[in-house]
């Protein structure tokens, strides 16, 4: 954007208070078909419907959140994303979004494969377990790490599959997925150097391969 000394940390805007949403909001093309897994109250989908005219669907396990999502006009069904994708035909969507939920699924590899079966592209955003604060927390306390991104005590955490930016890239390579775009974020900044150490959140745009 600017000609001055290339900033190491480019500014990222926020959408609905979240920088990963801002990235997703930029990636998704107008008028596309979007499925959001673990869509919460449907805020992102509603924004995509209103701003990009997308055809939006959501899956969410919490009854209360589904109620609020439907009440705001988003077509969401109450269900479990570990198994909820099976009914969809191949290529039903242009984008399947999984935001901050991969680490909570029981079968993350199966979910990723299913995402790329029912969708042409997958957008995956997850908290980076390789962030230096996580590493330092574990190193210094000798206990399961707790940071602002991983705030839960080990016994009540919904996170069951921890992963780092590098872990995701390894899995994508092993599965033959193509990473079309990668964004590593720290707060509202984009991280260019040492992303696995400095990024709090990774956002990946992935396709099923060549």
């Amino acid at each position: 954007m600017s000609a001055q000394a290339a900033p190491k940390q480019a500014f990222v805007r926020e959408l609905l208070g979240r920088s990963d949403y801002a990235i997703i909001g930029e990636i998704v093309e107008p008028k596309s078909r979007v499925l959001d897994l673990g869509c919460g109250e449907g805020e992102l989908l509603q924004w995509l419907m209103e701003s990009k005219g997308v055809e939006a669907r959501g899956v969410e396990i919490s009854r209360e959140r589904v109620q609020r999502a439907i009440a705001r006009g988003v077509s969401v069904f109450q269900g479990d994303i570990d198994e909820g994708l099976a009914d969809y035909p191949d290529g039903a969507f242009d984008y399947v979004i999984l935001s901050q939920t991969l680490q909570e699924t029981h079968h993350p590899r199966r979910v990723l494969r299913e995402m790329l079966r029912v969708g042409r592209r997958a957008i995956v955003a997850f908290p980076n377990f390789g962030h230096w604060r996580v590493r330092l927390s574990m190193l210094l306390s000798g206990r399961a790490p707790r940071t602002h991104l991983f705030p839960y005590a080990w016994y009540e955490s919904p996170n069951i599959h921890f992963l780092t930016v590098r872990d995701f890239e390894d899995l994508a390579a092993a599965e033959g997925f193509t990473v079309e775009r990668r964004f590593c974020l720290s707060g509202r900044h984009s991280i260019a150097m040492l992303p696995n150490l400095l990024a709090e959140v990774g956002v990946f745009l992935v396709t099923a391969g060549k």
């Binding site: 669907r57 009854r63 589904v66 109620q67 077509s75 969401v76 969809y88 035909p89």
Partner: protein, 375 residues
């Protein structure tokens, strides 16, 4: 129509020359009783058809001019309610085969001058919808913004979406199924046998005589048990005794509250419902199978062009959530626009009638969004 937030409503009836039925028979003429609430906009794009459950009638909302009683879904239909009559034009009619103004077995057969009784042709949910379509045509409405109902009303909503896809923008089937299970057929059969075992039923020929009140009351008692849940019955009655401190040690008096309640509801039902209508309508429900003629549920629902909002209730064991989820899954295989939620309620199958706060919130939002999109 509105007075001090009281909506006083009047029943209307329209007569059509004839209707052809799925069985191959025809009825001529055929009357349909209906009520409407709110007003149709100039574009005729705000009409919602509400479809009643097994024992319902056309009086869905407001206060009846004739009886002074509120409609069966008055908590859902009216100004500011889920089906907001300030925004939408709501229609409800009594089903074919019914006994509340629409032609049914208790109606007089013009060929004989006597009530049809068991000479009334067997009818289907498809026939009910065909008659509703005639009414909607007669009202001059090309497309319905929504078709909705609970239980048998939900089955009709599904039938509308599949058999008249271009006439429906959105379908909201609630606490229903695409076809009855063995258990659902079984409960209906117990009701029918209770009626037919009553000597007063007399082969259906009881009009002008003593009706099969005991049989019909027993049928309704069974029905009421299936509409409630174990929890709601425990809460409402427990093992409390009715007007006594100790067991009566006899069969002449009522011991338990729940017995008293069922007897009361059974006897009350006899005053407003025709036993033969009970037979015909439960038969129509048992025959209903959305997959008929399509091969599979997914193929049947592939006919639909509407969006869907499917609702079920946690404590409904008569129309359990898995039946609603089958609808949702079949719609997903075609990537149809469908929302689904299983609402948390203790009231069993009755939930869609009584536990309306959450239902209101989601239906209001869904309708507003549908109306906006359709415009």
């Amino acid at each position: 129509m509105m007075k001090d937030s009281l909506m006083i409503v009047e029943a209307n009836t329209v007569r059509f020359d004839s209707i052809a039925l799925d069985s191959g028979a025809a009825l001529a003429p055929v009357d349909v009783a209906y009520e409407t609430y709110g007003s149709l906009n100039a574009a005729k794009s705000n009409a919602i058809l509400v479809l009643h459950a097994f024992s319902g009638d056309a009086h869905a909302a407001g206060i009846s001019h004739e009886t002074g009683k509120p409609g069966w879904w008055d908590n859902m239909i009216g100004p500011g309610k889920a089906f907001d009559t300030n925004r939408y034009f709501v229609i409800c009619s009594n089903v074919l085969g019914g006994c509340r103004g629409t032609t049914g077995p208790s109606s007089v057969n013009p060929a004989t001058g006597c009530p049809y009784a068991m000479s009334f042709p067997v009818i289907t949910v498809g026939d009910m919808v065909r008659l509703q379509k005639m009414l909607v045509d007669w009202l001059g409405i090309e497309r319905l913004l929504a078709v909705t109902g609970g239980s048998m009303g939900g089955m009709q909503a599904l039938e509308w979406a599949v058999s008249l896809p271009e006439r429906v923008v959105a379908a909201i089937p609630i606490a229903c199924t695409t076809r009855h299970s063995a258990q659902q057929i079984a409960f209906n059969e117990v009701g029918r046998q209770a009626i037919m075992a009553d000597p007063d039923w007399n082969g259906g020929d009881y009009y002008g005589k003593q009706p099969p009140a005991r049989g019909l009351a027993v049928a309704r008692m069974v029905g009421h048990i299936t509409y409630m849940s174990d929890d709601s019955m425990r809460e409402k009655f427990g093992r409390r005794l009715r007007g006594k401190e100790a067991f009566g040690f006899d069969f002449d008096t009522v011991d338990f509250e729940v017995e008293s309640y069922l007897r009361y509801r059974g006897n009350q039902f006899v005053n407003r419902f025709d036993a033969n209508s009970y037979l015909y309508i439960t038969k129509a429900m048992d025959y209903f199978d959305l997959t008929n003629g399509h091969g599979s549920l997914a193929a049947a629902l592939a006919e639909a062009q509407s969006r869907f909002l499917v609702i079920s209730f946690t404590s409904d064991w008569l129309y359990p959530s898995y039946q609603s989820q089958e609808i949702v899954r079949a719609l997903r295989t075609r990537n149809c626009d469908v929302g689904y939620v299983e609402l948390d309620s203790n009231y069993g199958h009755d939930s869609f009638l009584v536990d309306v706060a959450e239902q209101t919130e989601i239906i209001r939002g869904f309708l507003a969004n549908t109306f906006e999109k359709a415009a």
